[in-house]
């Protein structure tokens, strides 16, 4: 994959080549990701607009196509206001923490067979651990702002992230049992053989729990109680303006895309074609795997937007109940069911 870079890399001294290569690979992932985030905000406003029989943004560029650029320019040039008595260091560090946590997980995401920056064995655990680190950005932003609403948002976020992280972890245990590997590439290869071999079918409850917990983890509607504009103004980022706010938004959308990518990898066959094993397989064989991956990510992202347009926000106690009393018991039950299936080597999945 990286052979074509060899002439460029030879310009550098031997010891630096690995570092330069990793930097280039990171840029190859991060730059398109930032673009995707920008246009996801436009897509969100357009999709929700059409669902609510509005047009959505349509002033900047043809059909509003340059709206994200206008938003970006506005956010960059806005004044940054620091609340009095705020803890300055943490106030400025927390958007950076949350953005870093949203970006570093991409290092293990395979876009196609072998197209991954770090092919590490414990990829699944790595993703889970760094997803957990993101919650610090929210809690610290809430605390450092020295504002009641922000603190309430941070507290809510801490409590509900803990709950949904457990459900997510249990869902991942199910994937681990089915694929017998923590390596994300191995997990995709384990689903080889058509749409019914993907893990969404044997792990259907876990698929649903994982995706819904992912929506909760990224603070998206209907689980956006950390922001809750009707109750606590804007929650944890109420005191942020300009670039600080932009970084929170960037992190939120980047982690939405990440959750969609992980769901696609673990339950929807990653880069594999959905027509494998059917008569259409050869007809669609020319499509590269990365496009299938992007198509799956886009469908899941559309679901995020759809949820936001459709569902009213959950009440706080209902979120807690759903997380602790419904999702966690459901995943534990399904781990037992799956254990039985693995023992009897059921179907094409556990053979």
């Amino acid at each position: 994959m990286t052979e074509f870079l060899a002439p460029f890399l030879n310009l550098f001294p031997e010891a630096m080549r690995d570092v330069v290569l990793i930097l280039i690979q990171s840029l190859i992932v991060i730059l398109p990701l930032t673009g995707a985030v920008a246009y996801l905000t436009l897509a969100e406003r357009k999709v929700i607009g059409y669902m609510q029989v509005r047009i959505g943004p349509n002033r900047v560029g043809p059909r509003g196509a340059f709206q994200p650029l206008a938003d970006m320019v506005k956010l960059v040039f806005k004044e940054i206001i620091v609340p009095s008595q705020a803890n300055k260091f943490i106030f400025f560090a927390s958007p950076i923490i949350i953005l870093m946590a949203a970006l570093v997980s991409w290092v293990v995401v395979p876009f196609d067979d072998g197209w991954v920056i770090a092919d590490i064995n414990a990829g699944l655990l790595y993703v889970l651990a760094l997803g957990a680190a993101g919650v610090y950005g929210v809690i610290l932003a809430g605390w450092a702002s020295n504002s009641k609403y922000a603190l309430l948002g941070g507290m809510r976020s801490a409590a509900h992230k803990i709950a949904y992280e457990l459900a997510m972890g249990f869902a991942l245990v199910g994937v681990l049992m089915a694929s017998q590997s923590l390596n994300l590439q191995e997990i995709v290869r384990g689903q080889d053989g058509g749409i019914f071999n993907w893990y969404w079918l044997p792990l259907l409850p876990m698929f649903l729990v994982y995706f819904i917990s992912g929506v909760a983890e990224t603070n998206r509607a209907p689980f956006d109680i950390a922001e809750g504009e009707s109750e606590i103004v804007a929650g944890f980022h109420v005191e942020y303006s300009g670039m600080g706010f932009a970084m929170f938004m960037l992190a939120e959308y980047a982690s939405m895309i990440l959750i969609s990518a992980l769901t696609a990898i673990m339950f929807l066959g990653g880069w594999l074609s959905p027509f494998q094993g059917t008569f259409l397989e050869s007809a669609f064989a020319w499509i590269p795997g990365i496009l299938w991956m992007f198509a799956k990510i886009s469908i899941l992202l559309f679901l995020f937007l759809w949820f936001r347009a459709t569902f009213p926000r959950y009440r706080y106690d209902q979120i807690m109940r759903l997380g602790w009393k419904v999702f966690i018991p459901l995943t534990i039950l399904w781990i037992v069911v799956e254990g039985v299936a693995v023992y009897f080597k059921l179907g094409p999945w556990f053979a």
């Binding site: 590490i120 655990l125 889970l128 106690d317």
Partner: protein, 210 residues
């Protein structure tokens, strides 16, 4: 000095410094954050030791769960640090003595005589496809299965006990029953009354009063 050695010195000095700052800082939220930094750099040191499973689990359990709860509590409590610092000078000799004894003991046990490179030669690096996780699982569920299960049961008992401590029924406290709320049907809340429409007394125009 190889690159890995350099990384080791960076991570371990960050770990030691942040542990020191955690004890000395006055702000309790800062102390919790320094502890997070300590865990983080320790996990990185473990990664350098090729213990990637343990390193990531350290992040997952301590940084991801335990410290979040710690921060939660520390932010909610308004701890006044001043009374905690009273008598610092008075307890200093005792503390210093305990610290000195511990340092001497640890240097006796962990010195180069017992743990030097000639006693424990550096293990050969494992191949890239060597799975730390699978090896740990294999050992835990075969050789050490009884200690492992006993530890799990003890944790379960602790969990049940902790839940029991919070379960106290106080009379007069109203709870919301979410299941009952979700089960509610239209017929329970609304009574449809069929009434004949009536004309307003003295109405002259049909359709007025709408």
């Amino acid at each position: 000095m190889s690159f890995i050695k350099l990384l080791f010195f960076i991570f371990s000095s960050i770990a030691v410094l942040s542990a020191f700052r955690m004890v000395t800082t006055r702000n309790s939220v800062h102390a919790a954050l320094y502890l997070v930094l300590t865990f983080f750099s320790t996990a990185l040191v473990w990664l350098l030791l090729e213990a990637e499973f343990l390193g990531i689990v350290l992040l997952l359990v301590y940084v991801g769960a335990v410290m979040v709860l710690f921060l939660f509590v520390v932010m909610m409590l308004d701890v006044n640090a001043a009374p905690l610092r009273e008598g610092f000078i008075r307890f200093l000799p005792v503390g210093a003595t305990v610290a000195a004894v511990m340092i001497i003991e640890m240097s006796l046990v962990l010195g180069p005589k017992l743990f030097g490179l000639d006693v424990y030669p550096a293990p050969a690096a494992k191949a890239a496809d060597y799975s730390n996780t699978a090896e740990l699982g294999g050992v835990l569920y075969t050789v050490y299965v009884y200690p492992f299960e006993i530890a799990a049961v003890i944790l379960l008992v602790a969990m049940v006990a902790a839940i029991m401590l919070t379960l106290r029924r106080r009379p007069g406290v109203k709870y919301q029953d979410a299941a009952a709320q979700a089960r509610v049907r239209r017929e329970d809340c609304i009574r449809m009354v069929s009434m004949p429409s009536e004309k307003r007394a003295g109405a002259t125009n049909e359709g007025e009063g709408a």
